[in-house]
Symmetry: D2
Subunit: 498 residues, 4 copies
């Protein structure tokens, strides 16, 4: 059986010592092994990255950008292969994998503009004949730790901009579905990236802990669950690194009485069940304002869900695939059980889906739960499965209070036609990414991605303009050229620009 290795200094290599199973979640079968790096392997990767840094740092930004231009072309040319690997190990249907990859490519496109994005600010005459400007220099070697649910997209949020800014990169992808990530990283070499600038190390907590403690790592970007995000953030910072750590979510959609209900249902269907709900931006709670809206929503949604197709990635007619592991399937089913026990109504039950020919796959069908309340476990925690819960409230303010009371603040959405309602909602809601009739308000690549509250730790968001600032350090230069013959008096006071 194939063992997935690391990409270090431009070469694929493996650690013999430890490996872990990689499954096809649609069949439930182990299809590959992934090498788990030792401390030494991780340190070696860092050493190569460190060695590659001086030359890469001094490469003009436009030349670094041109690697990204070619990388974009190669990602497009290899899209089918990448999507195939995503499907095999993650279970995502091909149209969804293609969407994920496209979103990732958009970050490469943005990184192509790095000469513009790295411009510093130049001030003439901050004092008489004194000029000052800022430069945004790379940090050195930086690391990314990414989750299973977007093996292509989330890594592409990080390393293209980090590298375009002049850094060298160590990526630790999810050990559940590392193959597509590795293939993507290999394309960089073909795109002209010098060896050592980009490295992929597969592994587990051993790898993570080296990345968090080795002092040559200057920054860590993380996407995963909130408890791990907190650990990563606290540890990296305590070790003197900069860190941004993105965690969990519970994304609510408010459905207003004036919403176009058919449209809302259509939007919710994809936003709740796409990728089996294993998205940090999945819309997992619908808050209906008023009983009329609530009843209509549940009725129309029930009807729409009758057409949902769950199955293997190999058939593109399917709407979504299995969840990532058997354990995770059991956890999702457990949340549904909990909700039922705590009094909610299971309107559409996806607990035992029939998927012909895939009886050992880790499938959960689309599930709709009505009459959910805020004290239920299924409401308080992130399910990360194809489960849409409906809460009914009487006013928009009540809906907003409920969203603001939740520990997460990643994404949210309102369905309405009313300009005032939309503005009041987007202004006041304590959530970082807000949709107005847009159920998955993932910012485009030239804006930045980030939740509020316990969904993100750090002050700069992921990708977009904030990523440029995160992956660079500001240097401010102040310059005066003294005239020969001018002898200036010593200045004991705090110098000011008077």
């Amino acid at each position: 059986m194939n063992t997935i290795g690391h990409l270090i200094n431009g070469e694929i290599c493996t650690d013999a010592a430890r490996t872990q199973d990689v499954f096809n979640p649609a069949t439930g079968q182990v299809i590959r092994q992934v090498a788990l790096a030792s401390v030494e392997t991780v340190e070696q990767a860092i050493s190569y990255a460190q060695a590659a840094f001086p030359a890469w740092r001094n490469t003009p930004p436009i030349k670094r950008a041109r690697v990204m231009f070619r990388f974009k072309e190669l990602l497009e040319a290899n899209a089918d292969k990448i999507c195939q690997l995503i499907g095999e190990e993650h279970g995502k249907i091909s149209h969804d994998a293609a969407g994920e990859l496209q979103r990732g490519i958009e970050n490469v496109e943005y990184a192509c503009g790095v000469p513009e994005l790295l411009k510093g600010e130049h001030s003439k005459n901050v004092g008489p004949n004194i000029d000052s400007w800022s430069e945004f220099q790379p940090l050195g070697v930086v690391a990314g730790i990414t989750p299973f649910n977007f093996p292509a997209m989330v890594p592409l949020w990080m390393f293209p901009m980090a590298i375009a800014c002049g850094n060298c990169f160590i990526l630790k992808p999810s050990e559940r579905d590392p193959s597509s990530t590795l293939l993507i990283a290999q394309l960089l070499k073909e795109a002209g990236l010098p060896d050592g600038v980009m490295n992929v190390v597969n592994g587990d907590k051993v790898t993570v802990d080296v990345l968090l403690s080795d002092e040559r790592i200057k920054a860590v970007s993380f996407v995963g669950s909130t408890p791990i995000a907190e650990y990563i953030y606290a540890t990296a910072n305590a070790n003197g690194k900069r860190c941004q750590a993105l965690g969990g979510a519970k994304n609510h959609a408010i459905v207003m009485p004036d919403a176009d209900m058919d449209n809302a249902v259509n939007q919710l269907l994809g936003a709740a069940f796409g990728s089996s709900g294993e998205r940090c931006m999945a819309l997992s709670v619908a808050v209906a304002v008023g009983d009329v809206a609530g009843d209509a929503l549940v009725e129309k949604m029930t009807k729409a869900m009758a057409g949902l197709k769950v199955g293997a990635y190999t058939d593109s007619i399917n709407d979504f695939g299995p969840v990532i592991t058997a354990q995770h399937r059991d956890k999702v089913v457990g949340y549904i059980n909990h909700a039922q026990e705590q009094g909610a109504t299971i309107v559409v039950d996806g607990r035992n889906p029939e998927v012909e020919g895939y009886s050992d796959g880790f499938f959960v069908g689309g599930t709709l739960i009505d009459n959910v309340t805020t004290d239920m476990v299924s409401y308080k925690e992130e399910i990360f499965g194809p489960v849409l819960q409906v809460i009914r409230v009487q006013t928009m303010q009540e809906a907003m209070d409920l969203i603001d009371a939740h520990e997460y603040g990643n994404g949210t959405c309102i369905f309405t036609r009313d300009g005032e309602a939309a503005r009041y909602f987007s202004d006041n809601i304590q959530v970082g990414m807000v949709g107005i009739n847009v159920p998955l308000p993932v910012p485009v690549a030239y804006h930045s991605f980030g939740g509020w509250k316990r969904s993100l730790f750090g002050d700069l968001h992921a990708y977009g303009p904030d990523a440029v600032r995160f992956y660079s350090k500001r240097k401010t230069v102040t310059q005066r050229w003294p005239s020969v013959g001018v002898r200036e008096g010593a200045e004991f006071s705090m110098p000011t620009m008077k």
Copy 2:
């Protein structure tokens, strides 16, 4: 004797329970007591700030800016009073105190431009008829913890921009010289700031620990020594806050053979001894390249130092005043002793200065030490006193290597006429603020202040553009208005902007 209280919700108040002496460092006498806040007092201040937040957040930025316009006028009108208080408690000579205050006011001027600085990015048609934009919303209640050496300037780096961005503020100034800080804060009320938006709590570690742990505090800005900065940074982050923590420094000037030596000496004189060297940007090490430059530097510097006047703040003819405490004086003298013991040459000895009429003051005279090496304690640690150490090297590269090997990376400077040398230096040196013939390269208020290496923890620098980002959180809104009658198909794939 007068007890200095807190400013909470627009009122001055004190805690009876605990106080600490405030000295006049020129006379060595206790002149006031400062109240040390209890846990309850700090929590009360936070409560008032929290209560003031909703209205302040909704106040249009231009109206918040206008409070800053009036605040600037009041700071200018009260400058003499503020400088007098700085002199009494810190010992700074009036011209230096005026310089400090002016630098602080420049930050208020910058905050007057907050409507411009808070502009988000608006994108039309991120997809068909979908728009997206970013908003920079205030965090809520944020805190600042500031050092004794700039009781006016460093607080003014923080709260004007934090408040202009729509936050409420809790400031814990240094307990050594809190009076000028308190007066400044009181002027905000006169400038029209609503009660509760700005609060000052005097105190010690008790206060700091509440600010670091109370979950209502969303961000902490700190300026002080590196060990404390590290503690603050790790603790604040572990508690889910954003944090920027500025620590110590060891700022080197390279004196090149082609430097205009008279000019360099004049510049160094002020940069090394101004404010008794108690500045994180003080130039404490001169690195002479080549013996000719080294000899000339020491000779001219010795001659120039003969005219240095150390004394009380009351006489503006003095160049600098005492250090902050008797303990600190002893520490500074200890470093000089160490250097001497480790083989350096004490060229000008300031260990027992005569300051007529102030025999009990905490004075150290201007001190010049030659032949310093990198293994000496006086070189490794920050002295924070009026001591200039000279290191001699043979090449510019040697000088740069030495600077890069030091744990701190706050400021640095090169004296030269040569464009190539200046560019090579400013490009490569691992220091955040670089001067070219500018010995104290403190960025102006519309740029940002921050060192590298162990001089700053965090990803955003202090004041200037970075402060706007630090004191605000990004919200990204994505908006589509659906047409009635248009029924859109459900979308299970990751939505892209294809």
Copy 3:
């Protein structure tokens, strides 16, 4: 009788030769004379400005900004005096004059941020060891030509930013009401502006033609009517100057069936009749969509107009005052007559208003005309009087087509609650300034003001960010410092950043 002079090189002076009457339009009496500059006087003003330029150009931007900080304080302190002069010569009621002045002051506030606004872009390593940056340098002597209807605000759109950018300025205000403008300009000296940087020359076409032809004038900003704007624009450009020329308007409001009609009526009342409609952003046409909306609008508007008070500026209970001249009054009345003759319905007739005690004043009362069609003279041309015309259409698209067909494209507005309607309107309408439930969508000072079609000639808009670009010229510096000993090969090909 008082003769209003010029402000040249810091001194008030007059030309004996030619003068013109200045009226109080409420009484119809001549109250002052204004000097009309000779060619020599204008040239002298330019000479002084030219002489003041080198030193002002080299004054650090923050120091130039501080003149603006003080200027703002002085404008606020002298507001009553300024508003009194506006009232006397223009006829504007005090609350309206205060609003105008405040809008002007906002531009001074924006100019206080000029150190931020003048920042150039700095790029490290545009090629190997080659850096490049942009500087925005002042143009030299620039001129402004301003209209009677905003004697304080429109000049303040121009000269504060022009001066803050380092230029010297020649202002030719309207000869109808020059006193408030002159007073404002005089305050600059008190604010610390060096003599010669700001100059005011009163005059007529003689003055204008010198400003358009003298080669020392580098740029001309103009606000007035479209025919003059075209002349100014073509002439200035043909003479090698940069120019922005703002002309006339015909601003339509669409009233949708779902609009909050009471609110719309209240908004329209002020937007149509405030300042007697003598505003280039006055809302002079209401386009009602559907007969229900049309009938309700006319009925409610008629009722609301019953309370309108027209009278002299001395009584702040008045809503608006006279128009500027007897000729202009006759012209406005002529348009009403035309409309009537061409078949429109005069619902409220302001042609012969009774204003007790002011029988010789140039008054026109609030006038409402229904059933206006696009072929009427009163519709095609700008009336610039207190006349609101109602057009009825059946669909929103019809309303938009009509707006797009008009030659002017300054401002427009829609009254609706519907997000989709608002977005479709603001996206597609061929007008430069768009309001959504905002009847006078004058951009705030930190955005820029400009119409489309024949309402503005030039590529940069007035005030705000565009003004910084208009009043400065870009210089791009590319820098490489060659290493001694490095001999680089000659390069015959077009150099690229490969």
Copy 4:
């Protein structure tokens, strides 16, 4: 013989009526005919562009950018073919043509970032619950008129950004060498650009005059000689279009006594003679400061010029090729004759170069003229040939005064090691593009290109950030959503954001 046609609405077509000869300047032979468009043909092109506009305007910017991504790939893939065509019709040697094309491609790369570049500014709460933002909308149909000397690069300065901003484009390339331009334009279709968005019309003044007068053309970009630039600028503006018109140049290099003379000579060699000096950024005057520098410069330059190779584009060993026409060759030779007659020293004489096998080609050899003075015709006018003139002065100030006195202000350069000299020069010189030891300071594509004085007419420079502003019009939207039930009072005063 082949007739070069137009590209209109995606199809190549020709006008039968009028054609003009296209030469191979190396052989002096006519190799093709170019069609000269009739008025009707130009109008038809505009009609197609107009028809394509609505859909292209509504295409999301990222999709427009993706056409540019593909266009870049196609330009790179077709580089050899393009360079061959440039060589045939312009005479440029292949390495120089490749450089030109690469510079052009860099503008395509910049246009790929258009989603970032088109971002408007979004302001929350410009007043209570009022938001305001700017949008940068395309103009409609815009035109470019480009010169013979850069048939690939200068068109690529214009249309990629214009098109990426959402405009449709009509290009009139030089009729001397239109083939490479046409090929480039054809690649856009292959890149996915809809028909009608990009059109090429070959022609003469007939074409130009339609573009300047047809009211459907909203903007004109021009690069050529100053007299034509002035005509274009005045005419386009008088017809209500926006216009930027770039004209002639006389670029001086100051050679300071401390310059690295070998490096300076090497740099000057390419900058003066590359592309036969037919570049608006060619360095045609060297100003030597001091006789030592002057003598060394002339001596070393003479020696270096001995190796210069002039010849046909087919041999890449050649340094440069012929000039564009026989008439132009005679004009260049005339300037050399003039200089000689007026007393200058012809140090190296290129008037009758031997180019084996190309006796009918339009060749001028590299020419060096010493002791040139400012009253000579060869100094006052632009030669646009391979002629370097040396002027000797005694001080740097004298050199700068001379540059500032010249009517052109396109590019300039100083050779020095001295930081002070470089800063004084770059700050004060009245030239738009300044090099410090960079002889052709052409800004990179992410900065903007533009001269001062009579080298550019307009306020916005070519390509880079300024081009985005030039090819878009600002719309400012102000939005308030009224609460139902809230009845707001009418506002007669000028609304302010108090």
